[in-house]
Symmetry: D2
Subunit: 179 residues, 4 copies
């Protein structure tokens, strides 16, 4: 039995949830802000939050990715948002793209922490919310206001932005083919 | 000829763009913040901004709605986001729902101005960005993290939230029927 | 007996404490933010907060001013900060200037609510904190980064800024005369 | 000739001016925010801003401290605010306390950058503004809402807060003796 009307949000860490520690001057993860974020924006979609881990995505292991995959496969919901650090977001999306079937899974993160000024976190999260509700089954990344399929996206290390690997198999092209 | 890869953003005012005037203690519209918002979130979708008007939606006339409809019909883009005050957003969406064909049009606004703390503006705008890219032709409202079709939505005056009029013809139902 | 090492903060309302009500679109006072403000800035001066009222200063009556005066006279502390709306701040300061002796009393408020973006509230509050600790007995207003004595200040309605009435009897002049 | 009515603000860096770099995930100094800060709060005291350096105070050398001392001695103003990282603020204050005579010099910084949410920067800056105007000649630190003299203050590394070294010679005691 699937829970059709509920979005599961799997929290894995990343910049979106980082906080500044005034004592050390470093960024860390005292707790996730997702609950506060969704409260702030008066989100009225039914959702469940699950904190799988709170990691910088550069620290993620293949075990961590298996754990995220397992959570996606085993949960009752078929609409899943995964919050994730941007540095290896594509890598985890590929694991899910190859092994998680029959669900709509959307990866999202931020370049600037929610807790800081001028963050992209809330905008990106909004992108993920509509994407997970409107898109057919598959694994996607929503960053920079765009929607990418898991097999045609990379993070440009110099600009910090996500971009398609090739234009001919882009999301736009694929999607338009079935509507 | 249509411009497939560009989103037109029609700015009409509403709380999302309101600002506090320290001299009068009232809220007004010195200018639109949409450009700043999209800059802050490093939006990399191609878009054009057009300021149609800057009005509290309670002040909107049927002439204003005709003007917005005209802009939607005449522009080259077939993906359109309309920023709008929430009080009469449904009314304008109905005008477009009945008369604007062949385009994906998404209405969005905010309950708290972007310029204030703890606003829902960026999240809502993100919802609109994914919705306008992922949804088929039609007229929609994205508020509270949800996606509504223009003919099955109302603003609940007491809670300030958007809700479906009837569940049987809800977006969810409709959409699932074609994917 | 006086409590030398404690600052009493009398909260009376004003823009500094206003909040936006998303349902009505108006500004009101659901609660004071002073406690949150002082928590945010890690204030380590000993202080006590007392909410005398939460009013727009245009609504303040002479009874209200008597009440504030009474609180200032009767409290154990001799360092007092009064948060107050800017429109009639000078009027209340004059009542205290004429009748409250032997204490350092500093009025402060804001042109933009603390709860909004880009507010002057925290800066102004900081000005009041140092002023109440560093200044001799008397009644002062700290606004716009400046320190005014109660009997030589007015709010310029057009600019929204506080200014001296006459330069010859300005704070600067007076103060320099005794240090 | 002294400029009595102007405050010189010497910018040296520190957390108050740090920014998050989304590409590296580190904090750095693309530019000072002091001008924006004073603009935001509608500061109407006459001031001049001088960027001496933009450094993490752990990187400051004795040469840097001599440079700051030189600027303090040579400038026309006798009211000076120095923005400074908190880690070695006390050390620089001691250099100035021993060698800069005849001026009121106030050190200030922040535990959380101005550019982040929930910062103490504006409050601390307000404290410095009143302190530099109200206090007699000498070298001070304003942090945590408190005013310290340069020779009786340390940063508690564990709490991140500034505190007096000994209570008997605290600012409070000293200051009260002359008013």
């Amino acid at each position: 039995m699937k829970r059709e009307d509920t979005i599961r949000i799997l929290i894995t860490g990343g910049t979106i949830d980082k906080e500044y520690d005034p004592l050390t001057g470093e960024l860390n993860f005292p707790k996730s802000h997702l609950s506060n974020m969704l409260n702030q924006v008066k989100c009225k979609v039914r959702f469940v939050l699950e904190e799988v881990m709170l990691k910088d995505s550069l620290q993620m292991t293949s075990e961590d990715r298996k754990e995220i995959l397992k959570k996606c496969i085993e949960c009752l919901e078929n609409k899943i948002i995964v919050t994730h650090g941007t540095d290896t977001m594509v890598e985890t999306a590929q694991v899910l793209g190859k092994h998680a079937r029959g669900k709509t899974i959307v990866f999202v993160g931020a370049m600037i922490p929610y807790a800081f000024g001028a963050s992209d976190a809330l905008f990106n999260l909004g992108c993920a919310f509509s994407a997970v509700q409107a898109l057919p089954q598959g694994v996607y990344i929503t960053m920079n206001g765009r929607i990418f399929t898991w097999d045609n996206v990379r993070k440009n290390k110099e600009s910090g932005e996500f971009e398609e690997i090739s234009h001919s198999t882009s999301f736009g092209g694929r999607y338009r083919s079935f509507i």
